[in-house]
Amino acid sequence: SPVRRSEKPNWDYHAEIQAFSYRLHENFSLDLLKTAFVNSCYIESEEARRRELGIDKETVALNLQDNSRLAEQGLSFSRSYLRQCFEGAYPDLPAKGVGALVDFLTSQELVSYVAQNLSVQDLTLCREFPVPADVLQRTFFAVIGALLDSSGPEKTGIFVRDFFIPQLIGKDLFEIWEVVNPMGLLEEELTKRNMSSPEPRITRQLGVSTVLPLYFVGLYCDKKIIAEGPGETLLAAEEEAARVALRKLYGYTENRRPWDYSKPKQGLAAEKAVSSN
């Protein structure tokens, strides 16, 4: 049965917390960081345990704050920072697309995966073990909130960028953002840019009368091709061609320039983000 690392031999909480902050090359204020790892379920279970053992509340006061305020702060900062990053990098992507990307990056699965690989689950104080995903997510955002209070918005922005943006590598836009009717969305986008509505034509076809046909459908605006997509049936090929066209319009193709990690984001923008929440 799995046991917490803190209950195995050789564990020094203070030293581990210090090592955690050195590992991330960040200067945390240790009190804020220790508060960030305390969850409300832990406080409740500790109080219940003390009541059971009959210890008086005044003699051994459990003056621990929980991490809910830090978690909210961290969550809202990360969301607004990531939203600004994407609006800057992909200006043509509509608000729904940016929202879908931000939701994916702050989703429970991804954040708990990142937290697990940074050994946050060993340092969290929580009632259950193994630590459930939503608790890990809350703790990680609390750590980000603690960093925000300790080092300021610029450094926290760099931290969020370095740990969340690489999770997008290898992912396609429509894996993350579910679009039900790509053709309708494409027609809206084209009317916004004053281009005529697309006309689908079959460009290539292979094996039409076999069990696995392949159709390539091209979409033409004013007799000029904008995208071409393959599919097993004509409808599937048309939908795929619409998706390819949308990817090209939003600038999220597979051969786009990789993310620019060189210069940190402007401090003004980050402070606007913090103040607007």
């Binding site: 090592a19 690989n117 590598i169 051969n255 990789p258």
Partner: protein
């Protein structure tokens, strides 16, 4: 004894040089002396330090501190890229004339 020498001299230096690694020294009444390395993603690596000099133990500890916790298996290829194709990956229908561009007396463009 080399291990005691290591603990007395080199361990503190090692801990100062690697502030992100927490070094625990504990006496074990067991079979053999071990150097146990626990990584962030959960892998645990044990190395025997029974017949090693203090210098060797220090080098071993530095090596383990620099590793990540990924499994030590054969790397299939020494290169990796996230953008394998810039102009579009070849498939059997690239560079074949499309049905729309064939002009001729018999084949009409659609």
């Amino acid at each position: 004894r080399p291990r005691r020498q290591f603990v007395e001299e080199a361990a503190v230096d090692f801990a100062r040089q690697h502030p992100d690694v927490v070094l625990y020294v504990s006496p074990r009444a067991g079979p053999a002396p071990l150097l146990l390395a626990e990584y962030l993603n959960g892998t645990v690596r044990e190395e025997l330090i029974a017949s090693k000099t203090s210098e060797e133990i220090k080098q071993l500890a530095t090596k383990l501190a620099g590793q990540s916790g990924l499994d030590i298996i054969r790397i299939r290829k020494p290169f990796h890229t996230d953008n394998p194709s810039v102009q579009g990956q070849w498939h059997p229908l690239t560079n074949k004339p499309s049905a729309l561009t064939i002009q001729g007396p018999r084949l009409q463009p659609q």
